[in-house]
């Protein structure tokens, strides 16, 4: 907990990212309570939907060995959402595509998997191969689901919702670059947020955004990529081919009503590769796209 001019800053670690809450409050204890509320919600969601924790619903689903698993309401809501996204993105957003990570290592090196390896793993990818009849989910043997593409944005939206119930102070939640503002600080046009154009040493062109309320989400490959023969392969994989999306922008930031919406539009735009800007233009939302 740190006191800054006009607001308090509470920080914690969740979902593998540094998270923070900026809250305009005169009272340190309110700032502490608010931070605790959102941290608890972030950890709750992380524990529930993490791939790594044995015993949680995702682990049970991924080790179901072809058997049907009954899900609770929250998990079912997320699965319904993922199913809509699968349709909206014409099969390019697919929560069963996580297994492809076994073939790819996005560490800035130039290691590429063989064609056969990718095709073998691709057999276990495809939401259309899943039987979903709420609340029952049946995966084929060897398939896995991964909420990594939705989790962080969902968490920050839920946390913001809880905060709104708790206090009417102006808050800015930042979960590793996914932001929600509940309202603007008094006497200001909004929280000042910077988006970096790239991770280059040439002095990234930083854009300054004033966020009054709503959300900003960024999708990008600044740190996770493969560089081979001068071509940069971002970490977003196309589930229909198993390969990274060709010619995707390096970074896309979207402003939307909720972080879930912003994150999804950013991801869907990335999945469009070279046509990202065309797609974004048609969504009529504010976007910042860098190549």
């Amino acid at each position: 907990m740190e006191k800054k001019p006009g607001y308090f800053q509470g920080t914690f670690l969740a979902m593998g990212s540094p998270c923070e809450l900026l809250i305009e409050a005169s009272d340190k204890s309110l700032a502490r309570t608010a931070t605790a509320i959102i941290a608890r919600e972030a950890w709750r969601i992380e524990d529930k939907f993490s791939r790594y924790l044995p015993g949680n619903i995702v682990h049970r689903i991924n080790n179901s060995d072809g058997k049907t698993v009954k899900t609770d309401d929250e998990t079912a809501d997320l699965i319904d959402f993922a199913a809509s996204l699968f349709e909206m993105s014409e099969s390019r957003f697919d929560i069963t595509s996580g297994v492809l990570r076994k073939a790819w290592k996005f560490d800035g090196g130039d290691q590429m998997p063989g064609d056969v390896d990718v095709r073998t793993i691709l057999k276990q990818v495809g939401w259309n191969k899943v039987t979903w009849q709420r609340p029952n989910l049946t995966l084929r043997r060897g398939m896995q689901i991964d909420f990594g593409g939705i989790g962080k944005e969902y968490a920050v939206d839920r946390a913001a919702g809880l905060l709104n119930d708790e206090t009417s102070s102006a808050c800015l939640l930042n979960f590793g670059g996914d932001l929600v503002a509940t309202r603007a600080p008094v006497d200001s046009k909004g929280w000042q947020v910077g988006i970096e154009a790239f991770d280059t040493d040439a002095g990234a062109a930083k854009r300054l955004i004033r966020l009054k309320n709503g959300a900003l989400a960024t999708s990008g490959d600044a740190r996770r990529f493969i560089l081979k023969d001068g071509i940069r392969y971002g970490h977003i994989l196309d589930p229909t081919t198993g390969w990274p999306v060709a010619n995707a922008p390096r970074s896309i930031t979207i402003a939307a009503d909720t972080c879930t919406q912003a994150g999804m539009i950013a991801t869907l735009a990335m999945l469009k590769g070279a046509h990202a800007e065309d797609f974004l233009q048609q969504q009529e939302c504010q976007y910042w796209c860098f190549r």
Binding site: E277, D278, Q281, Q282, Q283, E284
Partner: protein, 52 residues
């Protein structure tokens, strides 16, 4: 005749603007103003110099 707002993706591109490079346009306007008897058309007559 025309397009819906969500069909303006191509028209929004830099290379589809009527003037893609303002300095180049101004430079050419000035060169041709000083070497020819015509000027302007796209915008004002240019000129404003003693070179013609």
């Amino acid at each position: 005749m025309g397009v819906e707002p969500w069909e303006r993706d191509i028209l929004a591109k830099d290379e589809m603007q009527l003037v893609t490079d303002p300095i180049e346009a101004a430079t050419d306007d000035h060169i041709y103003f000083s070497k020819e008897a015509s000027s302007g058309g796209r915008g004002f007559g240019g000129g404003g110099c003693g070179c013609n």
